[in-house]
C-alpha cells in the first residue's frame, strides 16, 4: 500500500496529506465484512471519529459521509455550558498537536435542543461523550441523555487533562474511576464506554476497576500530558501552560496501552491515538481493539475517516480476508 507507483511520488491514499474529496463513496465491497460489535451496538465498520475532533458532525459534512461511519462520536458535553480555556489553545509539536480546549461546549440543554436533531438523521449509532466535575454531574448527564431520543451510547470522559477539578482526578485513581462508572451505569440503560487516560503508571489497574464497575467497553487513549514553550516570548505556548498531546507522535504509546488492556479485560476496546492511515488502524485492531477512533488526522485531512475506511476494505481485499473481525487481536507473538 505504500509503494510508490509510476510517478516518483508517494501514493497519498490513506496518508494524511492530500486525499481529494470524493463525496460519492461506494458501499463496502461485496463479500467483505467490516462490521463489528461494541457493547451491543452494531457498527457497519470499525472507524469512528474521536471525541472533540469532529465537533457535532455538521462541521465535517463536506468531507465525511456521516452515514458511512462506524458510529458518530461528539465532543464532550458537560451539564452546563463550558466556556473553555483562554487562547492560545493549540500548538504544534513534532508530529503532534498539543491542545488545551478546556472542554468548550454549549452544555447539555443546547446539545439536546440544537445538535441532537441534526445528528439523529444519520443511521450510525450516536455516541455522546460526557464529563462532569462531580460524580453527581456524571449521573445527571447519564440520566438526561438516556431520555433523549437518538443517543445510542455514552462515552465517559474521565481523563480530560485540562479541567482541574474534573477528569484528571477521576481517571488516574482507580477507585474514583470505578465510582464514576458505577454512577453512570446506575443511571442509564445505554451501553457505557469509559475513556481512559494514559497518564498513569499502570493503565490495566484502572481498566480492571472500571470494568468491574460495569463498563461495557473502554476507549483509549485520551491525550498525554505535555507542554511547549515559545522561547522568543519565554512564555508557555498555551495559555493554560499544560495541554494534551495527540496525533502521530503518540501512536506507539497508544498502541502499547491498547495491547496491554486487551490482554487484561474482556470488554471490547476502541483504540485511538495517532491513527493517520488504514495501516495504523490495522495495528490497533491486531493489538486487540474492536474499533478505532481517528482524531488529529481529521484535523489535518478532513477526509481522513473516509480514506481509512476505504483503506481497511482494500487491505482485506488485498489479503484475501473476508471478515475484519479476523484481525482483532490477531497479533502473533
Amino acid at each position: 500500500m505504500e509503494q510508490a507507483g509510476n510517478r516518483p511520488a508517494v501514493n497519498l491514499k490513506g496518508q494524511a496529506g492530500g486525499v481529494p474529496f470524493n463525496p460519492h463513496h461506494q458501499e463496502t465491497a461485496p463479500g467483505v465484512n467490516l462490521a463489528v460489535e461494541i457493547a451491543g451496538l452494531r457498527l457497519a465498520n470499525p472507524v469512528l471519529p474521536a471525541s472533540g475532533t469532529f465537533g457535532f458532525g455538521a462541521e465535517y459534512a463536506p468531507f465525511v459521509e456521516l452515514n458511512r461511519l462506524g458510529a458518530i462520536v461528539v465532543k464532550t458535553i458537560t451539564l452546563h455550558p463550558t466556556p473553555g480555556n483562554p487562547p492560545p489553545r493549540l500548538t504544534e509539536t513534532y508530529s503532534g498537536l498539543l491542545n488545551s480546549i478546556g472542554l468548550q461546549n454549549p452544555g447539555l440543554e443546547v446539545f439536546i435542543r440544537e445538535k441532537l436533531p441534526y445528528l439523529r438523521q444519520f443511521t450510525p449509532p450516536l455516541i455522546v461523550n460526557i464529563a462532569g466535575r462531580t460524580i453527581g454531574e456524571y449521573a445527571e448527564l447519564a440520566a438526561r441523555l438516556s431520555e433523549a431520543a437518538g443517543v445510542d451510547a455514552l462515552e465517559v470522559n474521565i481523563s480530560c487533562p485540562n479541567v482541574r477539578e474534573g477528569g484528571i482526578v477521576f481517571g488516574t485513581v482507580p477507585a474514583m474511576a470505578a465510582r464514576v462508572t458505577a454512577a453512570v451505569k446506575g443511571n442509564t440503560p445505554l451501553p457505557v464506554i469509559v475513556k481512559l487516560t494514559p497518564n498513569v503508571t499502570d493503565i490495566t489497574v484502572v481498566a480492571r476497576a472500571v470494568v468491574e464497575a460495569g463498563a461495557d467497553a473502554l476507549s483509549l487513549i485520551n491525550t498525554l500530558q505535555g507542554m511547549a514553550i515559545d522561547i522568543d516570548t519565554r512564555r508557555p505556548a498555551l495559555a493554560s501552560v499544560v495541554g494534551g498531546l495527540s496525533g502521530p507522535a503518540v501512536k506507539p504509546v497508544a498502541l502499547y496501552n491498547v495491547w496491554r488492556v486487551a490482554r487484561t479485560v474482556k470488554v471490547p476496546l476502541i483504540g485511538m491515538g495517532g491513527i493517520m492511515t488504514a495501516r495504523d488502524a490495522i495495528e490497533f485492531l491486531l493489538a486487540g481493539a474492536t474499533a478505532v477512533a481517528v482524531g488529529t488526522a481529521s484535523l489535518v485531512n478532513p477526509g481522513a475517516l473516509m480514506a481509512i475506511i476505504a483503506g481497511l476494505e482494500d487491505y482485506l481485499l488485498d489479503q484475501g480476508l473476508a471478515d475484519i473481525r479476523d484481525l482483532i487481536g490477531a497479533l502473533e507473538i
Partner: protein, 276 residues
C-alpha cells in the same frame, strides 16, 4: 430545524473544497516574503475578500498541521494568489515548492469582509496585513467604492505590492517607521490625520494586533463601522476543534470565545476584546 441544517450542509459541500492545486509560480518579493500563485479555479471563483485557505505544508507528518493563508488576490484563469512571510518550518517548506508542484489546500474558509457599493471606504494595512486588503480593494473598486488605502510598514523595502495597488486605482497613502517612504510613523497615525477631514462610511484593517486595537479605537471614536481580520493558531479550520478562538465581547459587555476560523477571521472591530 434539521431541514435548515441540511440546506446549510448542501451549501457548504459546494463551497469548501480539499484539493491538490498546482503551483503556477512562486517568487521571492522580499527578504523572506514570497508571492505564490496556485491554479485552483473552483476555489478562486467563489472566494471572497477576507477568506483564507488552509495549506498543508509538508508531504509527511512533520510539520503536521495545515497553515492558514489569507487570499491575497484572484489571478486570471483561476489563479489563487498568496503573499506570505517565511516564519517557521511550514512556510519554509512552502517557499521550496516550485512551479509544477502540487499543494494540498482546503478552502475557501471563514467569513470575509462585509462589502459595500459606491461608498468612500478606508483600508488600513500594517505590514503583511496588506494580504487580504489588496483583495478587498480590488473588489471594492469594482463595486464603485472610493478607496483610500493606508499602508504602513517598517521601511520602503517592506511595502510589498505597491505597483499592483497603484495600478488598481486606489488612493495609496504610505507610512513607514523610518520615513523611507511616505509618512514617518504608524499607519494609524496617518489614518487619524485623514479621519479629521474625511468621512468614511466603512473601514477595514489587517495587521499587527496593537495596530488593529488602535484602528478599532479610532473607528469607534469617529463612529465608523469597521472590520478587522485576526490571526490565531488553527487546527481544523472548519469550526470543529475549537482550537482557534479569540475573545469577543457581546453588546452587554460579556466576554466569550469565538472561533477565528468560522466566526472570523474577519470580525466587527467593536466586538473584539482587545485587552484579552
Amino acid at each position: 430545524m434539521s431541514n435548515k441544517i441540511k440546506i446549510f450542509v448542501q451549501r457548504v459541500k459546494v463551497l469548501i473544497q480539499n484539493l491538490e492545486a498546482e503551483v503556477l509560480a512562486s517568487c521571492r518579493v522580499g527578504a523572506d516574503v514570497y508571492l505564490l500563485r496556485l491554479q485552483a479555479p473552483t476555489i478562486a471563483e467563489i472566494a471572497r475578500p477576507g477568506q483564507f485557505v488552509h495549506v498543508r505544508c509538508s508531504e509527511t507528518l512533520d510539520p503536521l498541521l495545515r497553515r492558514p493563508l489569507s487570499i491575497h488576490d484572484i489571478g486570471d484563469g483561476g489563479g489563487l494568489v498568496f503573499l506570505y512571510q517565511v516564519r517557521g518550518r511550514g512556510t519554509a517548506w512552502l517557499a521550496r515548492q516550485q512551479a509544477g508542484s502540487r499543494i494540498d489546500i482546503l478552502g475557501p474558509l471563514g467569513r470575509g469582509f462585509t462589502l459595500t457599493t459606491n461608498k468612500r471606504i478606508a483600508l488600513v494595512a500594517g505590514g503583511l496585513g496588506i494580504v487580504p486588503l489588496l483583495f478587498i480593494a480590488r473588489q471594492a473598486l469594482e463595486n464603485g467604492n472610493q478607496v483610500d488605502f493606508f499602508y504602513g510598514a517598517r521601511d520602503r523595502e517592506r511595502l510589498y505590492q505597491r505597483e499592483t495597488l497603484q495600478a488598481m486605482g486606489v488612493n495609496l497613502l504610505l507610512a513607514t517607521d523610518d520615513g523611507s517612504a511616505g509618512f514617518r510613523g504608524p499607519v494609524t497615525k496617518l489614518w487619524e490625520q485623514y479621519l479629521k477631514e474625511r468621512r468614511y462610511e466603512r473601514a477595514y484593517a489587517c495587521g499587527p494586533r496593537e495596530e488593529l486595537a488602535e484602528f478599532a479605537h479610532l473607528a469607534a471614536r469617529y463612529d465608523i463601522p469597521a472590520e478587522v481580520s485576526l490571526e490565531e493558531r488553527m487546527a481544523c479550520g472548519l469550526g470543529a476543534c475549537r482550537g482557534c478562538v479569540t475573545t469577543l465581547r457581546d453588546t452587554t459587555g460579556n466576554r466569550y470565545y469565538e472561533n477565528v476560523c468560522t466566526g472570523g477571521p474577519v470580525f466587527d472591530a467593536a466586538a473584539v476584546e482587545w485587552e484579552g
